[in-house]
């Protein structure tokens, strides 16, 4: 973990509470999520079900509901809630002085 190549992507307050923003990369979008407690998580912005943009879903607790077919994914692990099975890649994040940093190597 210490070798993480952190990239600053913006301020915590740029992301709405219980919401998400998209970080565009050369390998597709990453959704950066903010919970009610200001925790920040990052998932590949593609639902394991049918590729729905998770960043557009409703965030609740540490989960997000995909806007296309209501799969629920855990923001920490990217795992789909049972009984659905699948996983969206998750990315390391950290917050320092209100700034959000993202690692581009999936967990």
């Amino acid at each position: 973990m210490s070798q993480e190549n952190w990239i600053e992507v913006g301020a915590v307050n740029d992301i709405p509470q219980l919401g998400a923003r998209v970080v565009e990369t050369n390998n597709g979008n990453i959704g950066v999520f903010r919970t009610a407690n200001d925790e920040i998580f990052a998932l590949r912005d593609s639902c394991p079900h049918k590729g729905g943009p998770l960043s557009q879903g409703i965030v609740h607790g540490k989960r997000v509901t995909c806007p296309l077919h209501n799969w629920v994914l855990d923001l920490e692990s990217g795992e789909a809630a049972a009984p659905d099975e699948g996983c969206a890649a998750s990315y390391p994040t950290k917050v320092e002085n209100g700034r959000v940093f993202l690692g581009l190597k999936p967990n």
């Binding site: 923003r21 390998n27 607790g61 009984p83 993202l102 581009l104």
Partner: protein, 812 residues
């Protein structure tokens, strides 16, 4: 230190209570379970299919040893508790094992009733209760020929059917003259008997067993009239009685069963009881659905939450004999104060009877076609006034509107390969496998595991029927009052009332007041709460964009590839060359891949990337367009025909009226999408009679129609009334919309709402009560003051919700 909980009885009711408890208070107790049988918890109601050779014992296991390990539960299999020291709070098994408890849960189940006749203890005389009985029956079927089942009730017939399928010659002996007389009237009973006889079962009716013959092993049965028949195996299935021996021995108050109050507590406050051993309000239950309701209540109290109450259950019955559809619930016999609606078609093998008293369903019995059983049961439990739907009642829910989704209506007649859910491509076999392999009991379980009935919902009745025929009467029908979502125990009605009465103007206030179980709700409840607060307190409640579905947050319709569609408002569907030219320019400028006419007479620009939305809206705004709200739970469109301005048949200015209606109602949020149409004459070219609010112009004025929709299940509107002037049309239209906005559940369209509350209720509030109509109209106009701002303009030029339309950054 954790408190200690001991469960006596490792069966479905007790273990279900543990599961419910672990869900709400996983770390509260150190749990020990004692079970007399040498197995984990299995699905007792699926013993019949095991006997019939349709399933194996492994198929019906609900909780294997690993489950107990995973939850840190100590399981003692094959150990029967023989004594309890209530003062010292310790239980004892026959082999000297002991366990202490802070709380004790009794779930000792029931014992089969053995008729007191000579010979009832001979070899080959058994009951039908557990895996061991099934093993004995399966072994006997390989060795012997003649089986007699005493008891023509549910369990007896299932046992008889199973033994017959194992190759035995089976005779059912029944003391009454009607099979399953507790569940069926004589008509249905005789149809059932005919059908079972055709399959090869034999019946001796009104036969009273006097003696079971044989030296060591049973050889036959002698009846009270002196006649005899040969038998190598006798199965007694004449009923069950609560197993209260242990409770009685240790002095816990019992009558027919262990007596409990509404919190499932016995007379010893440290001891709770659930399941078939229990007597609650004088009633003992032998079906799974009530036991699961008890388990949920019990868990609530074991977890010290202490607010849930069990108030008894109304049960329904289904027979688990493959290929026979049969349903009954409530009082299906009736008396001189009740009325019956009966349909009988012997050639088709269909019989249905509904017993009604004071326009409410008291009970129902159905044979052959049971697809509407769940619906009648719902109407029965909700005590719904059926006077508005009485003339359609017998023909089922699908016939309430004009036509149904052209699906099957007899689950038993379907093969496993036939498709049940057309949205998700789920076949009958998939559902049956999921129910049995994964131990599912409710519609919600089936929805989450198979996706059947989880999209459009038109196959819900069929899925319930498959559940019921797979599980028998034991499946858990949707509870009487369904919680809004998993975050609360309260129903939509209860939540709506609390918001109105206590003036809860934000999601946070609602969740705090109603003690929401999750910190910030879920994707199901937050949009509902946001809607309720906005609808009841316009101008005061604050909209929470993060609690809106993406379409309403982005003011565009998300598509399968993550792009959006844009539909500008075209008032009444009337446009002109310059507007069309502006739309064409926008489509070209932004390389819109698809331009399409919508069903509501608007133009849809499909395949727009999210970052293109705001500049596109700015261009559309400058050409005079505003949002068409094609994406919202909102007023969508007012569809019109050309009317008297051009049409040689037109009686009124339908386009002009449509434009006026759209100008007044646009921007209003609704519980679900809401469509209006105005037709200029009874030819009805605007299809006004399948809209939420439809106007059909006639020479003498305007017919107002409500509660229609196209879509999954076409429903033709009900006629609300006829009015003379355009002003009245507008007043009634606003009043109706407002009544719907204030009273329907979120995501309930006008059609099911009207079916729920009844057309009479809507008429009383709008047609008969002019003062109320005026108030509703005023409240609608008041709430419109706050919403008739174009959301596209706010976002395109005022920077509202800017973050919604821009990526955070681009890296790499």
């Amino acid at each position: 230190m954790k408190e200690k909980l001991v469960l006596i009885g490792n069966g479905m009711a007790g273990v279900r209570a543990l599961e419910e408890l672990l869900e709400i208070a996983p770390d509260k107790y150190e749990i020990t379970v004692f079970g007399a049988e040498p197995y984990g918890n299995y699905n007792r109601i699926l013993l019949s299919p095991v006997l019939a050779g349709e399933k194996t014992v492994d198929d019906i296991m609900l909780n294997d040893d690993q489950w107990y390990l995973d939850h840190g539960i100590t399981l003692h299999k094959g150990k029967e508790i023989v004594d309890i020291d209530r003062r010292g709070r310790t239980v004892f098994t026959s082999d000297g094992t002991t366990a202490e408890y802070d709380r004790l849960l009794l779930a000792t189940g029931s014992n089969p009733f053995i008729i007191p006749v000579p010979g009832n203890d001979l070899d080959g005389v058994i009951s039908f209760r557990d895996i061991q009985d099934v093993d004995v029956m399966l072994a006997a079927s390989k060795q012997y020929k003649n089986a007699v089942v005493i008891g023509g009730g549910l369990l007896g017939l299932e046992a008889a059917n199973g033994l017959m399928l194992q190759g035995m010659h089976v005779t059912v002996v029944h003391i009454q003259n009607t099979l399953m007389e507790r569940q069926l009237d004589s008509e249905a009973g005789s149809m059932l008997r005919t059908s079972l006889e055709e399959r090869g079962l034999n019946f001796l009716m009104e036969a009273s067993t006097a003696e079971i013959l044989g030296d060591k092993h049973v050889t036959g049965i002698k009846f009270a009239d002196g006649s005899e028949i040969a038998a190598d195996l006798v199965v007694m299935a004449v009923g069950i009685k609560p197993n209260i021996a242990l409770a009685q021995k240790v002095g816990i108050h019992c009558e027919r069963g262990v007596v409990v109050n509404d919190t499932m507590q016995t007379y010893d406050p440290r001891v709770y009881a659930v399941g078939e051993c229990v007597q609650h309000r004088g009633q003992a239950y032998g079906l799974v659905a009530p036991l699961f309701e008890q388990a949920k209540v019990c868990a609530n109290h074991l977890a010290h939450m202490g607010y849930s109450r069990y108030e008894g259950s109304i049960t329904s019955t289904k027979l688990k004999v493959t290929g026979i559809d049969l349903f009954s619930a409530g009082d299906f016999v009736g008396d001189e104060t009740t009325e019956n609606i009966i349909m009988k078609d012997v050639a088709r093998g269909v019989y249905k009877k509904i017993v009604i008293k004071d326009n409410r369903i008291q009970g129902s019995v159905m044979y052959g076609d049971t697809v509407d059983g769940a619906w009648y049961f719902q109407l029965l439990r909700d005590n719904t006034d059926i006077s508005d739907i009485r003339d359609h009642l017998m023909f089922g829910q699908a016939h309430l509107g004009d036509s149904g989704h052209g699906g099957q209506n007899a689950a038993a007649a379907m093969s496993n390969e036939m498709e049940v859910c057309g949205c998700n491509g789920v076949c009958k076999g998939d559902i049956v496998t999921a129910i049995t392999k994964k131990g599912l009991f409710t519609l919600d379980d089936v929805r989450s595991h198979t996706k059947a009935s989880s999209s459009c919902g038109s196959c819900t009745g069929l899925v319930e029927q498959i559940l019921a025929s797979t599980l028998g009467g034991d499946y858990s029908a949707a509870p009487h009052s369904k919680p809004l979502c998993k975050c609360t125990e309260f129903s939509h009605d209860e939540v709506q009332a609390a918001i109105k009465e206590n003036k809860l103007t934000s999601i946070r206030k609602i969740m705090d007041y109603l003690k929401w179980k999750s910190p910030d709700g879920c994707a199901a409840c937050r949009p509902a709460l946001n809607y309720y607060a906005l609808a009841y307190f316009p101008g005061e409640a604050e909209d929470d964009p993060q609690s809106r579905f993406i379409n309403e947050r982005a003011h565009a319709n998300i598509q399968k590839d993550g792009t959006y569609s844009v539909v500008p408002r075209i008032w009444g569907g009337v446009t002109n060359p310059s507007e069309l030219r502006a739309i064409a320019d926008v489509a070209e400028k932004y390389n819109v891949p698809t331009v399409k006419m919508t069903g509501g007479q608007r133009i849809d620009l499909l395949g727009v990337k999210k970052e293109q939305l705001t500049p596109m809206w700015a261009d559309l705004n400058s050409a005079g367009f505003v949002s068409g709200h094609a994406y919202g739970k909102a007023l969508r469109t007012v569809k019109t025909c050309v009317g008297s301005e051009w049409c040689r048949f037109g009686t009124q200015d339908s386009t002009g009226l449509g434009i006026r209606l759209e100008e007044i109602t646009w921007g209003s949020w609704m519980p679900h999408k809401y469509k209006i149409a105005v037709s200029g004459c009874p030819r009805n070219c605007a299809e006004a009679t399948i809209k939420d609010f439809g106007v059909v112009c006639v020479d003498s004025g305007y017919e107002l129609h409500v509660g229609g929709n196209g879509g999954i299940k076409v429903r033709v509107t009900d006629l609300l009334c006829k009015v003379a002037t355009e002003e009245e049309v507008i007043e009634y239209s606003c009043a109706f919309a407002q009544l719907y906005r204030e009273q329907a559940h979120y995501l309930e369209r006008t059609a099911p709402w009207i079916e729920r509350v009844g057309l009479s209720y809507v008429k009383e509030n709008i047609v008969d009560n002019a003062a109320n109509r005026t108030l509703l109209h005023e409240r609608f106009l008041e709430s419109q003051k706050y919403v008739q701002k174009d959301p596209w303009a706010e976002r395109a030029s005022e920077g509202v919700q800017k973050h919604e339309f821009e990526s955070l950054t681009r890296v790499g």
